[in-house]
Point group: C2
Chain length 361, copies 2
């Protein structure tokens, strides 16, 4: 956080929180009228959206808007906030596909509805009900994100210019998600393939496209916008990859009390990350056998997690990943310092880059 | 089909097919550039969308547009066609949630990707891969439907007026889908609850909202539109319920060679339909025990299916449902014959109502 703008990020986060709260209150009224059976759906999505989240995508959209030199209105912030609903869809479906039990220290949505089914002694299979609910709550969050953007109150011109970026962003997200799922079916890891997934899931979806969406909403002259879009990509793409690499490291070395995920969760899931691909490329016979025998084993003990962590560090891959992160961060910061970007946005971009990389969850 | 407009519906269907083909070709180019691993995704969605489907929602949108007295352009038809992609999302996620093996006589998407995983001898569990692929292909189809609508080429005013109906329609769809899933957790059936589900899943999503969407794209003066919207609702809501009741009957009595689903599939799934709720309300002790012992049994033999069918007919519920369908159809036809609706649209609406109800699949 810079000294001259104390709490800028947390002020924006508060506004995002308040916009989400208002939107969800309206939707609760609407759905309750259709049927009281929908109240647990509203409860679950409210808790999911309001009890946590770094609000990264709205923050990047905010910074992208400011890059134009303009200041976002309340309507613009509402439009940025819609990205949190899209992210809720991605996370709910992700947890379902990965079979993850927890999210932000609470039961994942499919587990939550499985529990509701059991507690209500409902007919049928609880697990199946939980899965179906997660499919539909994800779908609903996706549709809500669109609806929140459309009803944000931004001008028609701004909205139409945002829709193009928004659609592209969502197609890239689904493509990246599929590549990620597909990757876990590969027999051998690949640094190149994992980097491409990081590029689509994080570089583009988490950072570059939110920045572009914000800029599109500012609706500057399109030739001027083109140059700024290019600079924001030079910032967003390397930062996104660095962000994903940080995620990879936290998935293995993160503190469960801070990440809200069990220790070594990515090891148990056998996640094909860039860090893991780099590790296996560098591992000697002994390190490789320790790692490969544990990867994807859902019953890994904490002792085993410790052994794998030690082996990963020994290969030197963690140091390589940290060096890579540093290099990517430098590229991003260089782009952020570009003269074409309005000074207030420059500070935000730098603050965001640093907090996205130097984080513990 | 009326005599003076031979093949009107099939001509529109051909245009819908051709618009889908063009859109999917563009998307295939785009996704193939991201990675060749996405080609099976394009193949599967192309086959799903081009090898079948009644195109009901685009047809109703077409009729809703015509109700205004205007004639849809190619761009309008492209916008109507986007509803087929939304429907693809609904069906792919539906089959996943129900655990249905087949769709239109071919493996359901989750089974198809399970098979690809096996054939490719990929790492990990085939079933899990199939399920994850179905989640993502449904999500992608949902995002594509939006993208196809946004890029249809209709005027900005028409698009903005369509977005409101479109969002409402999709929120109602997800709410209806959840109520449907929730219903299977109820221990006793309810005609009222099942009728409400039919109202949201079919009355609104399949018929009323597509009609409204078409009308919104015609973009008539909003006060004039209001009256037409009301008449189209008076047509669409009863027709939608009748449509769902026909679906219920086909799910139990349909010919597998025509429906593309195994005989008595809804019995094996234990689907909570209006027909089943009415059956159980009317059943005597003996009929009830035959039906309840078979409902939801995935291993039902064809002899057992026959016995349950006979018991359902014996209760008189089938006749009641057919009477109900006739009454609902009459209400719909009466609304269709309203003077406010342009004559060309009247014919289309009548033809559509008849073919939606007097169908065998």
């Amino acid at each position: 956080m810079t000294n001259d703008a104390p709490g800028a990020l947390s002020l924006i986060r508060k506004e995002v929180h308040s916009e989400l709260t208002s939107y969800l209150t309206l939707q609760r009224e609407y759905l309750s009228e259709i049927g009281s059976e929908l109240i647990p759906v509203c409860d679950a999505l409210e808790s999911f959206l309001l009890d946590g989240g770094k609000r990264l995508r709205p923050l990047f959209a905010y910074a992208g808007f400011c890059a134009s030199g303009l200041t976002p209105t309340q309507e613009d912030i509402r439009a940025f906030t819609s990205l949190e609903l899209l992210q809720a869809c991605a996370l709910i479906h992700d947890d379902l596909m990965d079979g993850s039990d927890t999210r932000r220290g609470k039961p994942a949505i499919h587990r939550h509805f499985e529990n509701l089914h059991q507690q209500g002694a409902m007919a049928g299979l609880s697990g199946k009900f939980g899965e179906a609910a997660a499919v539909l709550l994800g779908d609903l969050a996706l549709v809500w994100s669109d609806h929140m953007l459309h009803t944000s109150g931004v001008t028609s011109d701004a909205l139409l210019s945002a829709l193009t970026v928004h659609d592209e962003m969502r197609i890239e997200l689904m493509a990246g998600q599929y590549l990620d799922v597909r990757e876990s079916g590969e027999k051998t890891p690949s640094v190149d393939r994992s980097l491409r997934i990081a590029r689509y899931k994080s570089g583009k979806y988490t950072i570059e496209r939110p920045l572009h969406l914000g800029l599109a909403l500012a609706h500057r002259d399109s030739s001027e916008r083109k140059n700024l879009m290019y600079i924001l990509s030079s910032y967003g793409l390397p930062l996104g990859e660095a962000f994903q690499l940080r995620d990879d490291a936290l998935g293995i070395f993160g503190d469960p009390a801070v990440t809200g995920k069990p220790a070594g969760d990515d090891l148990r899931e056998g996640k094909r990350t860039v860090l893991m691909a780099m590790t296996l490329e560098k591992a000697n016979h002994n390190q490789r056998s320790i790692i490969e025998s544990s990867l994807g084993d859902p019953d890994l003990t904490s002792k085993q997690v410790e052994d794998v962590r030690a082996a990963i560090i020994e290969t030197g891959a963690v140091k390589d990943v940290e060096d890579l992160i540093d290099g990517l961060l430098s590229s991003a910061l260089e782009a952020a310092n570009s003269d074409e970007i309005a000074p207030s946005a420059r500070e935000l971009l730098i603050e965001l880059a640093t907090s996205a990389i130097r984080r513990s969850h």
